[in-house]
Symmetry: C2
Subunit: 225 residues, 2 copies
DNA sequence: GTCTATATGGAGATAGAC
DNA sequence: GTCTATCTCCATATAGAC
């Protein structure tokens, strides 16, 4: 065997992960059992535990795989568009499209908001994934030469990231046909945000943005989220 | 036995609920077992299931008890204050104070965001509780003679209710001493909201509030949330 | 190192005696 | 109404074959 070949163990691991995602998709996370997943992958339960310490580890692997697989598309979006609006549309559109087949899984994950839970998007364990993801929003902001009060601008990428999390949350439970409500929410709130940014430096709005800057400074002192 | 006396069954039920809340407080919802709860109440597991169909039913009973017990204080707040600011401070302060001893339980409940889950604050099952709670925000708004674009005003109570849910969510996971971050978040965002309301009718802000009105109309067409 | 077979212990829930 | 005894099902652990 050439050492370039994918080792057999990698193949098995991949098969188990794929099987898990399939079962999660069909049943949701909670109802899916390790027995089922192992059966779907054609291995014994022990084999699944050999590759993944626990059921939760399958979810973490999903996060990592998602990030890995989405990265090229996100890069392309940044390269192909200039304005913040285009970029936000591109990034968030890409995420929703990627997650669409896995809605049942993603919805189960909303159970973990607690930053103390490893699978939470705000946890230490997910920090590398989060930071890398934040990088896309940073680049989207920095390269689009926005005017914004100095007390706010540095926090904009994190706010946009949070905004995206909220949108995904809404989308996960959006039962309207083709998730058109999410579409609407996204379209209108994005427009509002861009208008607000444009108006931000008008004198009458100063009393609004002053407390905002103070708040951001206090909340993100050097926080994890 | 006079028929005014509390029936023995009510007494047992109450004892089981109190025991459950105690165990939830100490261990959190997930870690608490029905065996423990029954033991704490001095009854058999079967008895607990006689009064509460499932572990989840204990949570629903907690919601109802909380609403019942908080109502008089909320009434008093509405009676004692006039401005929207005072009222919001009063209502939300009261909620956080009431929930404080039960943070571990409330935090477990944030797992249910899915409107399809009966315990979700957005579910059908919790609609009566939610509607009654919304009533307090409606009264807080209506009686404080605000000026706001007509496309927005009718939705303000629901927005405030949602805002309150978000604050509680933040508070539940706020590990700062005395939850001072929540305090800060509440204070600043409330001020921003009031300033925004005051500015809302200025001509330069019209482009901001127009899409907001459209969005609200589309999202709350006659929705449950 | 990879994997199968089987065991463990604990959870929520229930049937039916009292 | 209340309790005891028991069921079912799961995530996970372990022993050891290849």
């Amino acid at each position: 065997m050439a050492r370039r070949a994918i080792p057999k163990s990698e193949e098995t691991r991949g098969r188990i992960l794929a099987a898990a995602l399939k079962v999660f998709r069909e049943r949701g996370f909670d109802a899916a059992t390790m027995r089922e997943i192992a059966a779907e992958a054609g291995v014994a339960v022990g084999a699944a535990y050999y590759y993944f310490d626990a059921k939760d580890a399958l979810v973490m692997a999903f996060y990592e795989q998602a990030q890995e697989e989405m990265a090229p598309a996100l890069e392309e979006i940044l390269a192909a568009s200039k304005t913040l609006e285009q970029r936000m549309r591109g990034i968030i559109g890409q995420k929703l499209a990627y997650f669409a087949p896995n809605r049942a899984l993603v919805s189960a994950l909303t159970a973990h908001i607690d930053p103390a839970h490893p699978l939470s998007p705000f946890s230490r364990a997910t920090a590398p994934i989060r930071d890398r993801d934040l990088g896309f929003f940073e680049r989207a902001v920095v390269e689009s030469k926005l005017r914004l009060p100095a007390a706010i601008l540095p926090y904009l990428p994190r706010l946009l990231w949070l905004y995206q999390m909220g949108l995904v949350l809404f989308w996960v439970y959006d039962r309207s046909p083709k998730q058109e409500r999410t579409e609407m929410l996204f379209d209108k709130t994005l427009k509002m945000m861009l208008i607000a940014i444009r108006l931000a430096e008008l004198p009458p709005l100063r009393p609004l943005f002053k407390p905002a800057g103070e708040l951001l400074k206090a909340i993100y002192g050097g926080a994890t989220c």
